[in-house]
């Protein structure tokens, strides 16, 4: 069972453009939550809203222009609106690397599904990465056998 979500994509834009789209409240609403209220800056907590019903607190862990932005939240549409640092949460990280002018790589990771601080989860994941991979492969076989 994986304990991390990892995604990577290429975007034809500058690192500054992409960073601002993630880190500025007035831009992030163009592609991610419908609204942002509260304090959307490093060390503070803001509230994302999705549609009429869903609300989610986000705690901004880091905001380093124009290459890194990270926040904590409670994933899975749980509507958690309290202080995310007081409950098991995941760390969402955006790494932006401008490979050539106007062309950037964006890496997204979400870690901490074990309810552990992300750095501990990441290091134990690394130590056990063979184990995780092995097990995931075996389980896929198991699940597909079950489905038959």
């Amino acid at each position: 069972m994986q304990n991390i979500i990892q995604r990577e994509l290429m975007i034809n834009a500058t690192a500054e453009r992409i960073y601002n789209a993630i880190a500025l409240a007035e831009q992030v609403v163009k592609w991610f939550p419908d609204t942002v209220s509260g304090d959307y800056r490093q060390g503070a907590q803001a509230l994302f809203s999705f549609g009429e019903k869903h609300r989610s607190s986000v705690y901004i862990e880091a905001a380093n222009p124009y290459h890194y932005f990270a926040y904590r939240w409670v994933p899975g549409g749980t509507n958690f609106t309290g202080d995310v640092r007081t409950v098991p949460n995941t760390l969402v990280e955006f790494h932006i690397t401008e490979l050539e002018p106007g062309r950037s790589k964006v890496s997204l990771t979400e870690t901490g599904f074990a309810g552990l601080p992300a750095d501990i989860a990441a290091s134990s994941l690394q130590q056990n990465s063979n184990g995780w991979d092995f097990m995931l492969g075996r389980l896929q076989q198991y699940f597909s056998a079950e489905a038959k």
């Binding site: 995604r7 975007i11 993630i22 074990a114 309810g115 134990s124 198991y142």
Partner: protein, 105 residues
Amino acid sequence: MSQAAVVQLFKALGDPVRLQIVQRLSNGVPLCMGELSKDLGISRQGARKQIQALVTANVVQLHPVGREVKVQLDATALTQGRDFIAALEAQWDQRLQALKQFTEQ
């Protein structure tokens, strides 16, 4: 799957010994407690405790067979955990495509 159940599942699988136990069961064949506890680098009692933790997280089930106890993988929680992650991955794929579209305008 509730947030609490997800956390419980990933916590259960986040330990090297418990992960090894689950690996040994991952082909779906039940093993008896004694067999499963061998060569884990911990005492039998310690192994029993780890197996119990997996029972609590609904990762394995115990079945008494005669004088033995067989341990079997319970796919339910694992399937739900996998589906939970898959759903989040699909959401991120959508969001990142939206980010791409917005920033490439």
